[in-house]
């Protein structure tokens, strides 16, 4: 898993916490419980929320020596997924999200064309013309929602996968 993704996931989970809870973690400065990246992220969030970030207590590092090697090993583990590539997943999810808009716009263009055609030929009483307009709009909305859902679904699956790996 890429570092940016891990950072984004830590950021999201820290962002959900109350300011008091973040302040408690920040001031306690327990590096056995939280990684250095997490403190950077907490500092960033607190700065945004309260402006002035209070000083930290002396850092707690009881397992520091052992942790360095273990963390490195853990990071190696985290960068290994067996069945899929997180970068490919993100690429597909982002592209799907973009094409949701593109496909929606193309169908909208089709609907606009049918409408102008119906206006110019005064065919609004023609059921086929009305059906073609409704179909183009409906198809655009349907695929927009499906593609957006697929994009979000992929990210949710990756989140699940990441959490299941941490639990392991």
């Amino acid at each position: 898993m890429t570092n940016e993704l891990v950072r984004a996931q830590i950021f999201n989970s820290m962002e959900l916490k109350e300011t008091d809870e973040l302040l408690a973690i920040w001031t306690k400065n327990d590096h056995d419980e939280w990684g250095s990246d997490t403190f950077d992220i907490i500092h960033e969030i607190l700065e945004k929320r309260i402006g002035q970030v209070p000083p930290q207590d002396n850092p707690i590092h009881t397992q520091e020596e052992d942790m360095d090697d273990e963390e490195e090993e853990e990071e190696d583990d985290d960068s290994q997924t067996i069945f899929y590539n997180p970068d490919s997943l993100m690429w597909i999810a982002d592209l799907t999200s973009i094409f949701a808009w593109v496909f929606g716009l193309v169908n909208l263009a089709q609907a606009v064309y049918y409408i102008t055609l119906a206006i110019s030929q005064n065919q609004f009483t023609n059921l086929n013309a009305v059906f073609a307009i409704v179909l183009a709009i409906g198809r655009g909305i349907f695929y927009f929602l499906v593609l957006k859902g697929v994009s979000a679904g992929l990210y949710i699956l990756m989140e699940f996968e990441f959490n299941s790996r941490n639990a392991k």
Binding site: I82, F83, Y84, F99, Y113, V146, G153, S164, K168
Partner: protein, 109 residues
């Protein structure tokens, strides 16, 4: 395609599904996605080729709908490609989750 680890894991049967078969479905889905994209691309190329031929012979009268249709065909192909790719990746991620949970269960027992 997969590492040795994954080959070993694929050999482990799940209670409700066969990992190898699921993995095969994901691989086929990926391959079909490229095929679908290729077919749609060929369709678009054929349409453009027809329009160019008709324009040269003077038989083609520019019509916005024709252009919108070509773009729509191309985008439809890309959308199907993305949906099939997403389906394949989704299956693989689900398998990864399942194996992670199984490993956790194995470690705790």
């Amino acid at each position: 395609m997969f590492s040795n680890d994954s080959s070993d894991m694929l050999d482990e049967e799940g209670a409700y599904y066969a990992p190898k078969r699921l993995s095969l479905i994901a691989s086929v889905s990926k391959a079909v996605s490229w095929l679908v994209l290729l077919v749609y691309l060929l369709g678009v190329i054929f349409s453009v080729y027809t329009i160019v031929g008709e324009t040269q012979s003077g038989a083609f009268h520019p019509d916005p709908y024709t252009y919108i249709s070509i773009v729509a065909t191309l985008i439809t192909g890309v959308v199907y490609f993305l949906l099939l790719q997403a389906f394949a990746i989704g299956i693989n991620v689900l398998m990864e989750i399942e194996f992670n949970i199984r490993a956790r269960k194995g470690a705790s027992s």
